[in-house]
Amino acid sequence: MLHVADLTCQILKNVSFALEEGKNLTILGNNGSGKTTLARALCHLIPSESVFWEGKKIGDIAPHLRSQVINYVPTLLDIYDEYLSVGDYLDLNCFDGNDPRMREEILGVLEIDHLKHSPCQSLSSGESSLLLIAGAILHCAAYTILDEPTANLDQAKKVKIYRLLKNGSYFQNTIIITHDLNLAYKLGYDVLYLEEGSVRFFGSCGDFFDPSRLEGCFGNAVQNIGGNFVVNYDEVR
């Protein structure tokens, strides 16, 4: 179980919640509401004393064990070396004892096998997102935090990633940060809604997508059209 007790750091104020084994989470919130800060605190990229895994402070777990517990996948791929290839990057995500066939399988599933020998820096933003997801699957931590995994993808790839997450066989527990309400709704994970660094809602997906609550959070910016949540561009304020 991953649990956060009264976390206050940077923009975050008194954030508390618990995520049981086998439960997934969607983190929602406006720009600058602290979603990424929370994710980075969860995996100790921002040191804090308030994040616990199985009752132990995440900072007290030895680094190599911590890496098995929690992994964070940023929105953008950050690679310094201009010649490091896609294959090299994926190898760096594998730990000893991983099945080498897994790498080929994932390259195939995400349809990026033709990029295997390309330098990571030459990838488009969508291809980078797919590579990040492929890396996270190989890493296979107990909890994987995906920060806006579908933001740079085309429609077909969004569906592919949705199915991959829904199917659930590639990740253990996932925490998704997204602005895509439709994705959040279809995945059906528990929802944590952040507003200016505080938790405004934490509960089941069904409760969050209640029309009155939705309007409270997003005003008229979101419309429910036949079970699909779409952005209302004609919204008049």
Binding site: D78, I79, D81, Y83, L92
Partner: protein
């Protein structure tokens, strides 16, 4: 291409001791009583070894520092390590009459002190904030330069001249006694960097990624920094601050091999050594009354070649 350059490099290494201001009598080399033998074994051979080891250390140090700081302009010189060593030597020249022992000792001490200062400051900086450390290094360099100016002001004409010659870098070394320490240090340095190859490869992605893969980033960066700075300190205390090698050789190797930096440890070490041996060969044979300072030659040869490679790459990628 690879084999051609390897054979050419080995050839440079082998012929280097045979050429110089004074022509050697090749038959006499194995005759211990002759002056040719003395020149070959006591002066030229140690000089080639020192040139090779210094070039290798400075180049590999450049590669490691560029990877750690994720900045293509970083070398141990930018961090103030070399400036610390230079100041130490200048102190020895002014206050200890230029005795060789004190030159080596204070130069080494200057470099070591810089590393310790950087290390202590880095602990109060937030972990993995390598750019702050780089800025501290640059600030230290300016501080050392100012101190060096004070020493120029205090010194007489002869002392000033010695300091200037040292800052240009020099491979004028006699006997194998000076060559052994730097030879051993360069090999130890190579082995320890090869040993850290896998974590180094993680650093080529990003510090966050390295952290998330379960590596203690601060500890890794600090140990690499310490090992590299110590090797550079030994090198600078013997041959002076030979700039530019550490900056350009890693880039030249990257442009030629087009592989990620962690796979270039051996080529950078080897060709860095060869580069300095070749530059020294030129410096010794241009026919001037005395050797041209090695730092001048490295910049004259390396600079244009470097610019050529960068322009060439731009054309290729468009």
């Amino acid at each position: 291409m690879k084999y051609v350059s390897l054979i050419l490099s080995l050839a440079v290494l082998v012929i280097a001791p045979f050429f110089g201001e004074i022509t050697l009598n090749i038959q006499e080399i194995l005759n211990p009583a002759s002056s040719s033998s003395m020149l070959f074994w006591e002066i030229r051979s140690p000089r080639v070894i020192i040139a090779f080891c210094s070039g290798a250390i400075l180049s590999l140090a450049g590669l490691v520092f560029q990877s750690i700081f994720r900045n293509p302009l970083t070398t141990p010189f930018t961090l103030g390590v070399a400036s610390g060593a230079t100041l130490g030597t200048a102190l020895a020249i002014v206050f200890f009459g230029g005795l060789l022992f004190w030159q080596y000792a204070l130069s080494f001490f200057g470099a070591l002190l810089t590393v310790i200062v950087l290390f202590l400051l880095s602990r109060s900086l937030k972990s993995a904030q390598t750019s702050s450390l780089l800025l501290v290094g640059i600030a230290l360099s300016f501080f050392y330069s100012a101190a060096l100016m004070v020493l120029y002001y205090l010194s007489d004409f002869e002392q000033s001249y010695s300091i200037v010659r040292f800052t240009m870098g020099s491979l004028n070394i006699v006997g194998f006694d000076t060559a052994y320490p730097i030879l051993i240090v360069s090999l130890l340095f190579l082995v320890s960097i090869l040993w850290q190859r896998k974590p180094l490869r993680l650093l080529l992605t990003s510090l966050d990624f390295t952290f998330l893969k379960g590596v203690h980033v601060t500890r890794l960066v600090m140990s690499l920094l310490l090992i590299t700075s110590l090797a550079v300190a030994v090198c600078v205390s013997v041959v002076g601050p030979i700039g530019f090698v550490g900056l350009i050789v890693p880039h030249i190797i990257k442009l030629l091999y087009r592989r990620s930096s962690d796979t270039l440890i051996l080529p950078t070490f080897f060709y860095g050594g060869i580069f300095l041996v070749a530059c020294d060969l030129v410096a010794r044979n241009l026919g001037a009354a005395s050797d041209i300072p090695i730092g001048v030659v490295t910049s004259f040869i390396g600079g244009p070649f470097f610019i050529y490679l960068i322009l060439h790459r731009q054309k290729g990628s468009r």
